[in-house]
Symmetry: D2
């Protein structure tokens, strides 16, 4: 009886990131700067947004569903978020756990007072920890990993909040960047493998942490460095202190951050995203040249790789698809849907560019292939004589347990189909992926990165109740 | 820098109730009927509203700030609340704990699965329990008592959810009516003293519980009986089961429910509110007659008592004040406020009724006296030659710990001023309150009621950290 | 495909008024006071609300669908409405012409500059004027009579705005109270018959006009007098000037304003509404006594008449129905509707009052009788042994052309059924209406009033294309 | 007293277009397709949006402030827009005339029934016509040119609606694309000079008109041709009919549509925008080469020209600025604004691309130069060693009277400053504009285009009360 509301999501056929985090301490305009930082990190999460601010005595929180500008557009909201430290969070929904209750930061009261937390990542022992704590009588109001960690903090027998947090962190496994806010401290932590990016910056007397450096840029903060895997940064009136979790663990930086997630103008893992993404495109051109006239990107995420491909191949880079950025969160599509409408609403081919051309189409990655299939059809309809798809990453064959929403094997076309089968499915004249080796050679210190979604080689134990048979090896 | 938003609250100068609760089980339209029940209970809480519904497998919750009709006005909301059992809650804000995080029902996951809870009342050992659980490592995300009880349920070692709830209830003290919803059961519980009302009804094959019988009427349910103090009602497919908490405790029904909170068309504590309220007015006429021409009520809460006063005194009942019901939740008053505007926005005197008359004004209770002072002034301006205020309850001298928002001594005019001082303050020609004895004689089985706010005689130990000196005896 | 939205309107089974108007000049807080005035006049129109304010140079307008508090709740709105003069309007929807385009005030540009207008009433020669102007090439963007008058003003050859308005008014027939706002003047006008009320007040140096005096009370303005039929009041820096339209017309004040529309605390036509309404009740008791135990009103509109009936009959006045004031504008009723739900949502019987009683139920008027039928059923279910309905006005048999929404004969139960038939339809033990003579005797200078809806005697020619056969004489 | 709301508009420092229009006839899903068409035309107007649909008997209209998806997101709205023909409109605000009253389509009633109209353009004799009609007694409720034309239609003595519209069009001068909707016809008209684009398409049995062909693409309609200057297209059940206004006028197609307004994937004036825009870039490279390392566009509008520049110059095209597309309509910037925040909110430089590079920055046009000045600063801060700005159009020196919002001389930096002065102002190492000749050579049939904003040579008489002295010649 309810009307059909077809949400055309922000990103067609890409894996989805969990979150973006931001924190600032020692800044009289802490909440305002957090707002700007979250705005710059909007691409990392568009479902909900929130800010917790501390005035030294009390932490006040505001969060809601929606984009940053919308969540904070009520003129009564920002003036309530007073104080010189604040943390913020943007969240992407993941199946089954959507809704306001999972919006972050989470704010709780415990024996140590108030504490707020925001999290980017995914704990691999979350279910285990949760089950164990439930057995001991704990209750859970959200399905977020943050709540698990806050329980651990509260149960710690240590006698300072800093030690309690470290105590909690030693019990969790998997991927996390956490920012914690107490009445007087901002504490940021990155997991031992360093899956997700987190950097440190400075503006005036204030210290800043953020998922990507683009959030530093917007507030005029200087980039200092990446927070190291296993490092904990404690910021308060005394200044910035660094501690390390005990570890013999090898780094496993998420290589997908370079391929798709991060903004090209960001620095992550102390390296420029743009530079790496371009190198991926160049390597792809070397590995998989194409006899074609022009190179076209699926905008905007494949733009940089396409530039690299064009440069290395000597083919001309062209803008062959125009992307419409006006899609709203609750775009209601007409009742009876046109063929390919969901893709047409986002992309329109530029006929003059494509007509009578042999086209190399660069995409950064393929999950299901459904969008790409429609785009190839649109590009042909616009007059392209040949369509050669080149993908600036290897086939995705395994799920991610570290914060990227690739969780079901069924949705990974490459987990069950050969490259040739995929080519036929999407209707391209040729299809080639970048090799794993090629990818690693394009990334600075490639061996320090996690490539599990491409290789099935997981740097950690995987969740206990996960069906290993289904995923443990590349299926074909 | 934010604009001035002056909320003219629903109720001027009355104590505020915490909540209204409703539950239904065995009804294919459970959520719809809960919606109607909450609508009928709107007077018990206007800040937030929520419904949790169970389809036998999963519990879905929707809650938000606002009146019932507004919280559920989005056409996408109600269709999500499927299932044959549901509970609902209306909430009044209490200082310092306002906001969506405290909206109810609360829905958690624990070792026994999902459980939702809604609460009307106030636990006197809440702070103690909370502190103790925090010491043991628990975290709290709300300031509501419901969360405390859910922690206790989750910590119970009992092996059925029913026993776990009973185990939890034996640890709490104070005032509560709880409705719990699990995937397959609806469990309602009333505290040992029975402070707050809760009744049982039936419609078709479904069983219903509600704070007041008016919520049964709107869905066409039959009133069965009041749930007894210390009684626990378990409703599921097997039918309705009653259990009792062990107790030698004397009842302490909240007498203020008769005086002000409940709707006059409701039955509470197995007695008609209207009948009792009228008896209070009659008794008041006997105790405190006035040499006057007409009897006028402060509408709408004092209407029935005024009718009783008029009947017993032989004076004519008149409608001397018109109440404006169009006040919205975010009524923004003009920047520079007129004298008495907050009262004028709600009441306008009927000059033709009042001019050249000696008027008895009936009010049901006085908290601060500020509104009454302005009303007396308005009534005089309308031409009344004498204004005799009669109050159908005794002076409020002590705070309530059982769910009524009378928590600070400073706001109780009668805790520091004599009746004569109050008369001067409000500017009446005479002022009289009903005596405690008179009040008790008007209420069926008066001795079973709590009169602590009028007498300072608390039926339970009072909260540990409460300053007894300030409140233990009538200050006079 | 759209979800069912069942709006439970503010007023069940009563004719609906078109509008309330307000104007103020010479007040630095003109818009704020207009906002309060409109709030006090909310009962005259609940669909849309608007304010136009002039700062001496430019007129700014804000209007929207919704109640007054809601239309002006955005903090950016009121600060834009600057200036020392303003007019405002509340509007009730009438079938087929609903929606924002008909919200008022209307603001236009013409050769004389800007002019805003707000209107209460209905022109009987509107269709004729409109057709004639359309023939001459005029365009219409609304279906409101105000637009017609603004066309006439703009077409006038007179050389001052004041004369142009008077020129326009001499061409229209029917019922109107107009408030016009130009950059420097506020002009209020009432039609020759004076169908609708309009009064003049004063607060400080400012002059005020309003549909009812309750709008003066809320801003602390003094009531001066009713603006006379055919009178035009011009207010500007020079002061207040009165002019009269040429006329030999007899007054025809709308008697229904006393019966139902106006607030009982208002003065209209220089007489107190409360006093008249009570006299109607008394007269009804004389004409149609009942052998009963108690007198109960359909709240709130019949309260005062019921008090009069009780007083004259010696029967006891009781509150037998509780009205729920929390109905929102877009109350969504559950999908499958309960029997009588629309009435139950608004009224609940007080069983303790009604059980085993012979009840006189006072209603002020009957349009369709459908609501009353359900209320009688509810009252019987509550235990009343006899239900005697008494109506404090005569049967409504003819449509109104002067601003009341009784436009279709089909909806008037009394136009085709006898009193006995109506009694059977509503299920009462007895039914009696007040006689026309009785009604006239209760109203001050009754002969000066319009009684067309009760008698079919229209004080003006009726609209040209109206089917006279159907309505010209009382049908039974 | 109101809070600071700093709207960061969609487009920094570009002239703003008035509107986009769409119409469809003979389509059972007329309103749904209009919705999609407007969505594709969102770039032509983002302030308000509206659709009028006809079911053959009645025209229903919905319009509101906001983006297309937001204006039609209420599930109750689209189902009301029934019928097989519809027109739609997106509007950009222009100073002083903002607000809902000017949202389009406009819907009126006149002697011929209902007619709705939507307009893109600007009439040069609007003020004159309006004044003259006001003198004759007309009233105006909007400041839009559409209302003027509707007045002319209504005043026409012709005897069919088609003739009446033609009669009206012969009286207006200036730029217009009109779509009219009557109960049974869709009529589209383009002015004699053809300033603004309007094309004709077909999908199934339905005919479509739209400002740009991208609106045909999204609904799967085929492009037929551009509607000619002075052509009137009448679409009804009988089919599509074409008529011509009498004319000896030379075409004057707006060259700015190619430079900036239209989407690159659109066809306008029967030519591909992308192709022309690229040619402009190539010509610019020829005329104004730069000794540099890379070519960077101000995204997204200058992308295509930058590709052309890169291709012709042999320099590498790079993505040096990332544009944030998440800016909402009511983005509230923090109270105390950071330096350059308005620009940083939209653009972030890619340091890895720019560092130690000599950069050619391509912009399509310069109005004020304020944004460009900030961008040059950002680019230098990112490490560029030289910044050479190249503009793919000539200096804008004169206002536009044909629908582009360049109305005040003060805002045109090139009207008072030399190129060298502008270079200094924006802080570039070199600055060059495309010459008028170069521009004309890049556009198909360049001589048929209006270049008034670059040359001051207006193809029509300019508005009577416009100060010719100020604008008639390039001020230099």
């Amino acid at each position: 009886m309810t009307p059909p509301k077809i949400v055309v999501s922000g990103s067609c056929d890409h894996p989805r990131e969990s979150c973006g985090v931001f924190g600032i301490c020692g800044d009289p305009k802490a909440a305002e700067h957090t707002y700007l930082g979250l705005y710059a990190l909007q691409h990392r999460g568009q479902e909900s947004s929130g800010i917790a601010a501390s005035n030294g005595k009390e932490i006040v929180l505001h969060k809601d569903m929606g984009l940053v500008w919308s969540v904070f557009s009520d003129p009564y909201v920002m003036p309530r978020l007073v104080g010189s430290s604040a943390i913020g969070h943007n969240r992407y929904s993941t199946t089954g756990s959507s809704g306001l209750k999972n919006a972050q930061p989470l704010l709780i009261q415990f024996k140590g007072g108030q504490i707020a937390a925001a999290h980017n990542g995914n704990l691999v022992n979350a279910a285990e920890l949760r089950r164990s704590m439930e057995e001991q009588g704990s209750i859970f109001q959200t399905t977020s990993d943050s709540e698990i960690v806050l329980h651990l903090v509260a149960r710690s027998k240590k006698d300072s909040i800093e030690e309690m947090i470290i105590d909690a962190l030693t019990q969790i496994e998997g991927a996390y960047c956490f920012v914690f806010l107490t009445s007087s401290k901002l504490i940021a932590a990155r997991d031992l493998h360093g899956f997700r990016p987190l950097c440190l910056g400075k503006v005036g007397d204030a210290s800043v942490v953020a998922s990507e450096s683009c959030a530093l840029d917007i507030i005029g903060a200087d980039y200092i460095r990446s927070i190291e895997p296993g490092e904990i940064i404690i910021i308060d009136k005394e200044g910035v202190k660094s501690r390390k979790l005990p570890s013999g663990t090898q780094s496993a930086l998420c290589i997908f951050e370079y391929i798709y997630f991060s903004r090209p103008d960001s620095i992550i893992f102390d390296e420029k995203v743009d530079k790496t993404r371009r190198a991926l495109g160049k390597k792809l051109a070397e590995e998989a040249p194409a006899d074609a006239d022009i190179v076209v990107a699926i905008p905007d995420s494949a733009n940089t790789a396409a530039l690299g491909y064009a440069q290395a191949s000597g083919l001309r880079f062209e803008i062959g698809l125009i992307r419409n950025h006006y899609v709203g969160r609750s775009f209601i599509a007409p009742h009876q849907r046109e063929r390919d409408l969901d893709v047409k609403v986002k992309f329109n081919p530029v006929t003059g560019v494509l007509r009578k051309k042999r086209v190399v189409v660069i995409e950064d990655s393929i999950v299901r292939g459904t969008t790409l299939k429609k785009l190839v059809r649109l590009i042909r309809q616009a007059g392209a004589t040949e369509v050669h798809v080149r993908v600036s990453s290897p086939p995705i064959v395994s799920p991610c347990f570290y914060g990227i929403d690739i969780s079901s094997r069924g949705e990974l076309i490459a987990s069950s189909k050969s490259v040739e089968d995929i080519r036929q499915y999407i209707g391209a004249d040729s299809l080639a992926y970048l090799s794993v080796e090629g990818m690693l050679s394009a990334v600075r210190e490639g061996s320090l990165h996690c490539t599990a979604c491409f290789t099935g080689d997981y740097p950690t134990a995987i969740p206990v109740n996960f069906d290993k048979e289904l995923f443990s090896k590349r299926t074909k």
